[in-house]
Symmetry: C2
Subunit: 389 residues, 2 copies
């Protein structure tokens, strides 16, 4: 087991009607003026916007609004939000939405306390030293951003989508009401399921022996995400299935599934390159394409781990360990198909001629390899993309 630091300061209010606790949650942070960010207005149609605004105003807290966060949140939007945050002197950034809105808020919160342009934190030229607190009312179980130390942003000028990991990205609180996800389109639910599963798989497949407790918890999460994912698609209003997904979303990415292990998120890096170049590709759909392909490309370098995955998560069998491992990967792929995820890059309009561009985006034109137990260079990434054709 590797040494680790475990820090999950986010206070989670989980359950039915939890959004009504937003006033109380903000009040605990002792702020009196907040910025509210949200997406393209679905929260206004659902009535959530009004519920949240009423609950906040009831506590005498002032709101500065900044709606219109796009999926794969954009640097230009964040820069505007940072300026507004500084101009108005808000003390907390509140996300009402999913991973994109939360990530937009995380970057805003960091940028609001400094004169450094936030893109410099993403490139590594500068290191964040402070941030305003961020809170969220979660509306989709997917990214795990509500408890994670990660945030992802797209620089539209460069077509680059990249993540920033820092403890300043931890939300102060997260309001998680599974009921809010009942009305999600099936496709969004399915993309979320893939994302949750991927966050656990990314840590599970690193090479790191002697973490049986973390491994077993990861398998518990994966099994439950698979069964609750199927159930939530069949019965969108099934509270317990939705609740399992929402809680798994947080646990998959808050550090628990990586405790004592390497934390590389290698497939995520390739997916960020893919959806950085092709903005219409939903993150979960990209992961559903890439994960089985990556697994087929590397499984034999870590066979015992893929055998455990096959047996303990999918109940796969076979005559040899290679067969068991491949049956496990196939079971994952079949699950993604059952979720109506795209099964080929062609389905999302990406063809062979784009592969080098995606690989270069990922490796900064070949200047680096993607670190994992099998390091990936341009050639490897292109081979993996060929397996997604």
């Amino acid at each position: 087991m590797k040494d680790f630091v475990y820090s999950t300061p986010t206070k989670v209010y989980f359950g039915r009607g939890a959004q009504l606790k937003i006033g109380e949650a903000i009040k605990e942070t002792s702020v009196s003026k907040i910025m509210l960010q949200y997406g393209k207005g679905s929260i206004k149609k659902s009535g959530l916007y009004q519920q949240v605004v009423n609950a906040i105003k009831a506590e005498g807290i002032e709101i500065v609004e900044m709606g219109g966060v796009e999926p794969n949140p954009k640097l230009s939007f964040v820069r505007k939000a940072i300026k507004l945050a500084k101009d108005t002197g808000v003390e907390l950034i509140l996300a009402v939405g999913g991973g994109s809105v939360i990530d937009s808020c995380k970057f805003t919160a960091i940028g609001a306390t400094t004169d450094v342009d936030v893109w410099k934190f993403v490139t590594g030229e500068e290191t964040p030293k402070s941030a305003l607190p961020v809170g969220c009312v979660l509306t989709i179980s997917a990214a795990g951003s509500e408890m994670s130390s990660s945030a992802v942003i797209t620089n539209e000028e460069l077509n680059v989508k990249k993540g920033l990991t820092t403890e300043f990205n931890r939300c102060a609180f997260a309001i998680c009401n599974p009921e809010l996800t009942f009305t999600l389109p099936e496709y969004q639910t399915a993309c979320g399921v893939v994302d949750i599963l991927s966050h656990t798989m990314e840590r599970y497949f690193t090479v790191c022996p002697d973490t049986p407790l973390t491994d077993s918890i990861a398998e518990s999460i994966m099994k439950n995400v698979v069964s609750a994912g199927k159930k939530a698609i069949e019965e969108p209003n099934n509270y317990d299935a939705r609740a399992t997904l929402m809680w798994a979303s947080s646990l998959s990415h808050n550090g628990l599934t990586g405790a004592g292990r390497e934390n590389y998120l290698v497939v995520h890096q390739i997916e960020h390159a893919l959806s950085g170049e092709f903005d219409h590709v939903t993150h979960g759909a990209g992961l559903a394409l890439l994960f089985p392909a990556w697994a087929k490309y590397v499984y034999d370098k870590n066979l015992p781990r893929f055998v455990s995955f096959a047996k303990n998560v999918w109940g796969a069998t076979g005559k040899t360990n290679r067969e068991i491992a491949l049956n496990g990967i196939n079971a994952m792929q079949e699950f993604f198909k059952a979720l109506k995820m795209p099964s080929s890059l062609i389905d999302v309009g990406v063809t062979e001629k784009d592969f080098l561009k995606i690989a270069n985006n990922c490796t900064r034109n070949g200047a680096r390899t993607i670190k994992s137990y099998v390091n990936l260079n341009n050639e490897d990434i292109i081979s993996i993309l060929h397996l997604c054709k």
Copy 2:
């Protein structure tokens, strides 16, 4: 799934040599004067005391010492510590030790910020409203106090041992180095294993359907505690076994295994009455006696849950569900025997004539029942004690 609030603000520094990070950890809390509490001096023999003191002083932080915390920490000691904390104006209470030392520090931290006598918080006459921060360097995997919201104290005048649960009991940081547990006496290791397992079992056996993720994580923890517990007894210097126990200690009692479930800790309440009356009974040993007896008394009122426990934790089989459930309970009892825990109350000097006194201690002379899915009155508790003879 029940609604819940999940709050685990404790920053955990986990791994080899972690105690050397104590200066850094304290510095992050921005304090300059601390109280250091420890037990009866074993940390001086091992050299840990000097390592910790050196690391703290290297950061220019002043130390006020209060050694001599007893197992089952005593109210009189805590009252003295509170007075010293107030007189010296310390800003953080640091525990170097196990659950008893940490709990003593938690009560000191609460008492140091108020004129209310801390016993009134335990009886419920008053509610804590503030506390100094508490940190710890953990030396035994057992109580889970390093991440829990609980603390237990013994009022020697009344022979009453009782817990206090409050969010003010959450440690600001916990330094967890499994190597520090290599030299524990076998009996202490074993008592710790029982305590860890019990914290998960207490939540697992409440009646609360539709928490498959929490249940599966609980089963993962229990299975791993059993296997790592056996390994740590066989090979006291096995780092990974010790690390599994230490991490399981924190996860068993930080809220994870109770997420969405009832949290009663019914067997703990009986054990506190037992060791409240008989101070020489180690908490883990008391639990090892009581848990199988309690389980046999109530299992048929929650048969499916005991069947899952038997199958998924112990691999038990049988012809009927009752037989499977009982085989699971017997497997737990055999495990405790293999850990050389006492198998009868007589082994710890408690006889039938003491049963009413223990029951009365637990129920405040019959004024309350112990709440669970089978509420327990004096008669029930005496019946359970008879099963431990």
